[in-house]
Amino acid sequence: MRIRTDAVDECTTVCRVGGELDAYTAPDLRDSLDGLLEKGARWIVVDLKDLTYLDSTGLGILVGTAKKCRQAGGDLSVACQRRNLVRIFEISGTQEILNLVATAEEAATRLQELHEGCPEDASGEEAT
């Protein structure tokens, strides 16, 4: 599994996840997302464009992180349009809690809508 994080703007961070997310690889994602929260990130886009496999362990981490973001006054949005993965979100009924959209750009827009006071565009700055 590959994980990369980048700052989208002053308050939004995107975490790009590629490969396969299962019970073996999930702890790495949990550590990365917890690390972002510890550094103060509250508005997180999780971009699953390059993810090919997801099951309930990965879902649990995404839902848990979404809750932590909200507790910190932010939110999380998942970007995914791979058919077999979207099916997992649909069956589990997690599209709403994860603000599921198709692309990372839509996810960032979704978070901006949720956080109206967010200053726009200081893009391209690498977080880690």
Binding site: D22, A23, S56, L59, I91, S92
Partner: protein, 144 residues
Amino acid sequence: MAGKGEHVIEVTLPSRPEYLLVARLATSGVGLRAGLTVDDIEDLKVAVAEACTNVINHAFKKDGGSGGQRIQLRLTAGKGELTVEVEDEGQGFDPEDLKKSQRSGLEGEGGLGFGLMKELTDTFRVESAPGSGTRVIMVKRATR
């Protein structure tokens, strides 16, 4: 014993998360042989991994995860369908507890994994009892 035209593949895996990929690869390879579509196989891979993850997370809890535990995977490829049995010799559980979990929705302890297994396969059955291990039987038929 395999029926006429059936192929049976048995794989024994250590009950450890690093071997989930092997379970998925076996499902994928045998699924192709059984004539399942790519989408069917993607569904079944998740269902099989959920069953194996339950073994890893729950079946040998009382043993303290000492490392000698095994997952038995039995794949029976028929014409246009694949039957997968995931079996362990762990602590088992009362299937009534599973029904209660399912009645309370997909969430809850283990409920999400079982919910996915049920939704992603055509037939799903659990055989278990406290102290007697667990066997999950799933059938996926090829989508026409």
